[in-house]
Every structure is written in C-alpha cells, then in structure tokens.
Symmetry: C2
Subunit: 323 residues, 2 copies
DNA sequence: CAGTAAATTGCAATCGATTGTACTTCGTCA
DNA sequence: TGACGAAGTACAATCGATTGCAATTTACTG
C-alpha cells in the first residue's frame, strides 16, 4: 500500500530552529509584536509561509485558557413544532458558522430541544465554550436574564424585552408585521388572518405591528383570525386545513415564517382555492427557498445570514471587552 | 449587579492536593488504572464527585496529541439539489452527534458544498480533526479512495464499490429497491417509475433492485420511467409536475427519499390525480416526518439515527486500532 | 531475618504555544 | 571613553493533563 506520509505539521519550535531564533521570537513575530526587529519579522514570516507553518490552535487556546469554541442554541418552540430543519435556522447557522470560521473559532451546536436553559450551565454547551449564542428567546426570557449574570458571555437573537440584561440582536418585528399587513391591506384585503404563536416575543411584536396596520385602515382586529399555526410544514398544513374546513372566512394571512407561508399556499391550493385570488399570503424571513416557489412568495425580508454574522461579532466584542 | 461567581472549575492538581496524593495518581485513579490501590482509588473518586471535578478535555486532548474532534461531511449532490435541510441528513447528524457526545468528542461540520473533497485535506475539516465521516459518496468514489490512503481515518456512508479501500457503512440498497418495487408490483402496478439520480452509487443499487423485481414479474424496465428527480422539495415538485404534464403514463413510483415521495404525493394531488388510486408512491428512509403525513407514507425503512451511531463506532474502532 | 518481587506512589518530562523578565548589543551623549 | 537607555533576543514559567521510570513500602520466600 502506498501510504502517503503523515505530513506532521511543523511546530513553532522547529520553525524557530530553522530561523535561528527562539520560540518566543517566532511567536511575537507572527503576532506582529513591535518588540521584534522588522527584518527578522519579515524573515520569519517568509519561512513560515515557505514551510507552510500553521499555528496549532489547540495548543494556543490551551495556553490562553480558552476553548476557541462558541456554542449555538436554537430555542425551538416545541408547542409550535419548530424544528432545526427550518431553512431559517439553517441559514442563520450558516451565517454564524462562516463568521466563526473567519475568526478561527469552532462551533458547538446544541442539538436536543432544551426545556430549561438553566440546565445548560452544567453541560458542555457552557462548560466547553467561550460564549453562547441563543437564537430566539422561546418563553425563557427570565432564564436568559439569569444566565447573563453569570460569567459566560451570551448574545441572543430575539425581541427587546422589559428589564433585559442580556445582549440582544434582532430585526424590527413591529415594522415587519406592519409592512406585511399593510401590503395586504393595500391589495384591498380586509379579513386578514395572523398565523403564529404570539407567546413568542418576536411573533408578539409582529402581531402588534399587524394590529397597528389594521387600525390605521379602520379595520378592527378579529381574535378569531389569530391562529396558532405551528412552524413545521406538515403540522402547519394540518392546522391550516382545519381552519379552512371550519369555514372561517378570511381573504389573506400574515405568516410567521416562509415555510409556514409555503405550507399555507399548498394547503389552500389543495382545498380548491386560489392564491392570491381567494386568499393572499405574506411570509417572513425571505429564505432562499421562497424565491423558487411559484408564484414567487411575497415576504418580509430579514437578512438571516447577515444576522448570524452580527451575532458572532457582538459576542466577540463582549469577549474582547472582558479581556 | 449581583455577579454570580465564576466557579473556576477545580483542576486535577487541586484535587490531588485535597486527596494528599500527586496528579499522576489522580490521573491513574480516574482512568481506573490497576496501578493504584483500590482504597485510594475509591477515595479519590469520592472526592472527585464531591468537588464536582471534571477533567479538562482540552488539556487532555492536548497532552494526548489529538483534537477530540470528528468532522462530518455531507456529500450533497448539487445537480440533485440535495440540501442539508433534508430530514435524512438531520437525522443522520443527530445520530452521529449523540454518539460522539457519549464519547466526549466534538463534532465539526462541513457546511459548504464540496466540489472536490481532495481540497479538504488542507482545510480545518481534516487538519483539525481526528477523523472524518463522509455521508454519501457523491460521484467522488476515487477521491475517497485517495483520501483513505492518507493518515487520517475516514468512514463513509454509502454503497459498496469496486476497488474500495475505505471503510464503508451502508444499508442494503439493492434489497431496498427490490422491496419497494415488489410492493408496488403486488398492488398490481406495472408501469412503475423510478425517481432519482442513478449516478449516485446508492441510488444506482436501488435502481438495480428495482429492475430485478420488475424482471421477476415479467415487466420490462422502461428507460423513460427513470426520472432524475431532484431531492429538494420544491425542485422535486417542479420536476414531477413536468413529468405529469408530459402525459407520460405511469401508475406508481419508487422514490429515492421520503421528501421526494412527499413532494410527489403533493404534486400528484394538485394535478388532480389520487394517491394511491391513480399513482402509488413508495418512499425511502422512513424519516420521522413520513409517519405524520396522511395517508401514512409507505417507505423502505433505514434506521438513520442508528446508522449514524454505527458510523461513529466504526471510526472509533479505527482510531483505537491505530493506537 | 535478609533478600527479592510485587504493589503503590512520587517525580519529572512532555504536548505547542504565550509572555514577563533578564540579558546582550548597540548608539548616543556628556 | 564610560555610562545609560533603547532595541532586540533569549530564557523560563505556565496552561492541565498523561505516563515512563524511579523510589518507597509491603509481602513473601527460603
């Protein structure tokens, strides 16, 4: 068997030997310290490139007493059948992962649904990482507050909440809900449903934007048109099918996600009604998938990948601030 | 602000001091070495529990010159619009992640589509991990062979191939395709379509199982009934819609995945035909979602989570063998 | 009871980096 | 010319564990 040689990566000591200096000097040269002569610095950098030297991050992190890992927790709402396969989460994850990689950080993903996030503090999610990103608040705002008082930095994607002591990043959900509803109102719709669980902070804000738009057009919000449609495709279809079968009359719907909107469109079509002729639908997030659907889904744009990057940058600024 | 104290985790040296022994003895006691007296061993274990000692895996891995990380690469077929959001991949990932966690290993996920896996050897996917799990072979069988000759252990989920030098784990795709087709034949169907890209090794095997079943029933396989339907839901629907519009006559279809099957059912319904009355559908994988659909999807069961565990265990046995 | 083997435990090197401190050159100025 | 400060390097401790080898204690054997 032609065993390809284990190209054992070159170590800093070896590079130092080649350059005829000590580890310390190489280390300083690579981190561009002013304490090392410009000429030797250039020489070392050239040798490093030539020998394809790459610093051993594991050893580095060990010395610096950090893990080089950032944990990500998706606050999936179990009641709403929210699942990680939702493109919203995957795009967010993609943005986070890209940005972390650029900073030479690793990503640790919580992959079990979390009933009470306080328990995380004893788990690898917290113990093994330098910081934690929560995507969504679920219904655990107060727990997030508690956790943020501990030593480990966290950032949260979600809605602003009263007495919030954690670092938050999020879109403008009120305006989002308002815009979506307004769009439908301008199409002449008046019986506009709202699909989503308003116990979730972000959804609640969109709902208030929805009500605001309705009121501005002199339409009284109808409680029966606020339906707790789950996020997951199949469950969403079931829920909407039930709604249609109940003969509740409505001519439009604001959805809490694009997957939900696509489910609505499919279900309505199957039911023999036309979209948007009979019922107009607006989604939320603008996932890539939305652009492929026919006809193209109308949706409220959130740049999710970019949001992921912002989350990472926010966390890093906290981490560096603590240094 | 009530700053909760940074409960700096106790170190092995500190535990040793408490126990009145040295680090070495503690280390041996915790790894159940026969070289330490049973009584002291018990005492140390008790103290460890009492003080909630947890070994610093980062330091441990550093000393043992390994990373404690296993990389996972999903070989998404771009032409087939295969995407990580497919429940097949997510369930597989779940199984892998669970099993790795039980072994105190971290998971590193390749999240960009990989055109040529040989390039991975220069990336963190390889450099930063103790081993790599490939889910699927794509069309890169020979590259996998090449990679397997290098030093880093890999295992691959997929089909057996000629001159295969890498460790492979996989289901029995020939039998799977055979069973699915046979089921449809026994329902009396004769014009049975096959949906999927037969350039993918696993799909090719199922296709041969499909042909075998047909021949046994005296049905001649029709090339026009082998359709390269993409994996992704929306693209699959487009593809199947096109097929239906072309008035190609068929009364059943064997699908390459459950998502594909669910897409087929939805599209057929929208087209005004009935499932299974007009066209019967069989899926593949038995993802959780399949059980929720109505009527329940007929599918070929692959225990995906379990498969993920097998992949991990296989990789670990290679890793341990190399020691 | 001396002597040796076995059972335990301590000692110290090691993994690959970072960084504070000490030391060696210089150049400069009085 | 001798002293002094700055610049540039070398030295060595350190992060938290593992493990071969040395040292000590205990147990047996003749």
């Amino acid at each position: 068997m032609s065993q390809i040689k284990t190209k054992a990566p070159i170590t800093m000591q070896e590079l130092a030997d080649i350059a005829g200096v000590t580890r310390g000097t190489v280390s300083r040269a690579l981190s561009d310290s002013p304490r090392v002569n410009e000429k030797t610095k250039a020489r070392i950098l050239a040798l490093a490139k030539k020998h394809k030297y790459r610093v051993n991050q594991k050893a580095r992190n060990f010395r610096l007493r950090r893990s080089g890992v950032v944990s990500v927790v998706f606050m999936l709402d179990i009641k709403s059948e929210q699942h990680m396969s939702d493109p919203f989460f995957l795009e967010m994850l993609g943005g986070i992962a890209d940005c972390l990689a650029e900073h030479d950080l690793d990503l640790f993903l919580a992959h079990a649904p979390i009933a009470n996030i306080l328990e995380l503090q004893e788990s690898r999610i917290f113990l093994n990482s330098d910081g934690v990103i929560f995507v969504g608040q679920g219904e655990q705002h107060s727990q997030l507050n508690a956790i943020s008082r501990a030593e480990k930095p966290i950032v949260v994607w979600g809605a602003p909440m009263p007495r919030q002591s954690y670092c938050r990043v999020g879109g403008d959900n009120i305006t989002g809900g308002y815009l979506a509803t307004n769009h439908l109102l301008e199409l002449g719709r008046r019986r506009i449903a709202f699909f989503g669980n308003v116990n979730l902070p972000e959804i609640a804000l969109r709902y208030s934007g929805y009500k605001k738009a309705l009121k501005e057009h002199g339409v009284k919000p109808d409680r029966h048109l606020q339906i707790e449609v789950p996020f997951e495709m199949q469950h969403a279809r079931d829920s909407i099918e039930e709604l249609l079968a109940s003969h509740t009359s409505f001519d439009a719907a604001v959805c809490s996600s694009d997957v939900m909107a696509l489910s609505a469109i499919a279900t309505i079509n199957e039911f023999g009604l036309r979209v948007p002729d009979d019922i107009a639908i607006v989604g939320y997030d603008d996932i890539g998938l939305a652009r492929y659907s026919s006809p193209t889904l109308t949706t409220v744009r959130q740049n999710i990948r970019w949001a992921g990057r912002v989350l990472v940058e926010s966390l890093l600024s906290i981490l560096n601030g603590q240094n």
